[in-house]
């Protein structure tokens, strides 16, 4: 079902219909020249591919954005409090709101970082919240909170720059919020937690799927772009090495690599992309690290189930944004329900990400369902199940200029510095196959820009 868009969508379409189709080609050609790419490893090979883009934006009304803004801010405050708590007093466990066993069984919980103070008590500096709009009830639903290294923001940013150049009439005519200040917001966020020194964006390197984004954000925010080899820790202080043999103290790092790879002295000893002893600088309070170490426990797909309880527990408020109806195989009652309804549920492996480990029960053969059932019974902590959400489609323009509905989600970004700012834009991802529900870019999905309106019309 196609979402009934804002009346401005008609305004958009009437402008689009007057536009020479060659200008769409011109836009795509600019994208290629700018190498707005998304890298993939497929069958063991590195593929640098352009990120498929569709010209038709998602339009979010001002009222709707206000609602999402409040909901995401509330969610991020609560989850940040949860992380502060879980790595210190663990009151939420002691009060029985979340089962201790459930938290301690997660590989993403890092007890070795208990009581490590973090700069300004902020742990979720950048988050990417995945939402879909349910066609049943016309309500936004949170699917995931990405609280470690959420990627993707550079794509709507880059495309907005290009679209403004190729199609200025949209931005002259329609009341679309500006988004190009994201790099300045990022800089402010980094400056806020900076403990004294330069800001650095740390990339795993060329073969990371989001290398383009790392490079883009460094350039636009004025942070220094670095790989692990460019950084060194001495006396618990992190330094950037220059080609002239000098060193500059680093005060904040926006790291774009996972905890596991961050410090070969603290995590995986064979990591070649991390910085030896960076965790010592972090523990000593000499470094603002974005996002903090150990955040994985909060975006564990199982912990997601408890976010509404966190909001009630820490903030005394009712959640503004709803979760998808979720069942934890960890709980006996839920497990029974999952086993009995495997055919109709979506099953997710909590250890997977990027659209991997997501199985639609309806698409499994009898023997595959039996295997899944046995896996759930063997390792119940590993699985959650959700009701299938019939989320809205958004129209995409094919090569012939026809408008075809595709499933689409929305990743919204928030930055937590002096305050939580929800960026008035977002990455709308659509499934490449009109029949598919999987929108992830690593699964071949494409993207659209997200236009948040300044006012309702």
């Amino acid at each position: 079902m196609v979402e009934s868009q804002s009346p401005l969508y008609d305004g958009f379409k009437s402008i689009l219909n007057t536009i020479d189709p060659d200008r769409v080609k011109e836009l795509l050609s600019y994208m290629r020249t700018e190498a707005i790419n998304f890298n993939l490893f497929k069958n063991g090979s590195f593929i640098e591919r352009k990120f498929p883009f569709d010209i038709i934006p998602r339009i979010v009304s001002a009222t709707e954005f206000d609602y999402l803004n409040r909901g995401i801010q509330q969610r991020m405050y609560a989850i940040n409090l949860f992380l502060e708590d879980i790595y210190s007093d663990q009151k939420i466990l002691k009060d029985g709101i979340i089962p201790s066993d459930f938290v301690f069984a997660s590989k993403a919980f890092l007890p070795e970082f208990m009581n490590t103070p973090v700069s300004k008590n902020i742990r979720i500096h950048i988050s990417g919240i995945d939402l879909v709009k349910n066609s049943v009830g016309d309500a936004w639903v949170v699917l995931e909170d990405n609280l470690r290294v959420p990627s993707g923001v550079s794509y709507p940013l880059s495309i907005r720059k290009l679209t403004r150049k190729v199609f200025p009439e949209f931005f002259e005519t329609l009341p679309i919020q500006k988004v190009l200040d994201y790099p300045q917001l990022l800089k402010k966020t980094m400056d806020h937690v900076n403990t004294g020194g330069i800001n650095v964006i740390l990339t795993p390197g060329r073969y990371n799927s989001a290398f383009y984004e790392h490079s883009y954000l460094a350039k636009e925010s004025g942070a220094v772009f670095a790989t692990g080899d460019d950084l060194v820790v001495e006396n618990n202080i992190l330094y950037f090495k220059t080609f002239q043999g000098k060193r500059a103290r680093v005060g904040a790092v926006y790291r774009r690599l996972d905890d596991d790879a961050l410090d070969p002295k603290a995590f995986h000893a064979n990591s070649l992309i991390g910085v030896p002893n960076i965790t010592k600088a972090y523990r000593a309070g000499n470094l603002g690290l974005m996002n903090s170490i150990g955040n994985g426990i909060a975006d564990d797909k199982g912990i997601y189930y408890f976010v509404p309880q966190m909001i009630r527990y820490y903030m005394g408020e009712e959640p503004i944004l709803q979760n998808a109806p979720t069942y934890l195989a960890f709980f006996e009652k839920d497990r029974q329900y999952i086993i009995q309804n495997l055919r109709t549920l979506v099953i997710k492996d909590v250890a997977e990400a990027g659209g991997y480990g997501v199985v639609f029960g309806s698409q499994l053969s009898k023997s595959e369902r039996e295997n899944l059932k046995n896996a759930i019974l063997k390792e119940p902590r590993r699985f959650i199940a959700q009701e299938v959400i019939e989320f809205y489609d958004i129209e995409c323009r094919n090569d012939l200029g026809q408008l075809i509905p595709h499933k689409a989600d929305l990743r919204m970004y928030s930055l937590y510095g002096e305050e939580i700012v929800v960026w008035p834009g977002g990455l709308t991802r659509y499934a490449m196959d009109p029949k598919s529900y999987i929108v992830n870019s690593s699964q071949g999905g494409g993207f659209k820009d997200t236009w948040v309106l300044k006012e309702n019309r």
């Binding site: 020249t33 330069i198 883009y216 772009f225 950037f240 220059t242 080609f243 043999g245």
Partner: protein, 218 residues
Amino acid sequence: MILISPQTAEHLFWIGRYIQRAESMTRLVIEAFDKIIDNDPEESHRFYAKLGVTLNYQNNHEFLRHAVFDLEYVSLLTIVNNARENAVLARASLPNRMFSRINGLYLRYQIAKDEPKTSIFWLESTLEELDAIWGNLELNIAHMHEKDLIQLGRIIEKMDLNIRLFDSLEATALDVIRLNDLLVKLGQYSKVQLHSSNPLKTLHTINSVYKTMVAVQE
């Protein structure tokens, strides 16, 4: 303080080398194409022999196809790919337009390699792209040290080709003053001196300049 990492500095340096190499080799291939028309095929054989490559062709179009796309290591396609790879890696330190120009040139090569025939006019037109890349670098005032590192690569590549292809120590010596000026700008105060009349020794000296500079500063 200049905040460029050793890795990025090396990528910038190699952008300069590969773009200069692409320009020099393009001009030489166009010249050789012209000579083959006048039934002087040996000229281009001798030219590639200096690069350690044997080039077999039946006519000037076949020569063009091999020189532009097919030769290992020294085809223009490989040179442009290498320039672009270094530009991707150093993108955060490059002027935006310079990156786009280099990537644009790379894309033109990617499209042209799948065409059934290689056109000399097409190849000539790539020189305009190369001119634009250099012009863009000259006009940029915001990335002074990045610019110096690219220029360093450019000069060293020119000196290298002058010796390697034309045995011209004189032409190389003319660039030494500019080379030393750049080294001073980059914080290196020991000057390069080319005393040797031995081309191989001179080649070794100029190709060691970058590594020596980094080693001294470390």
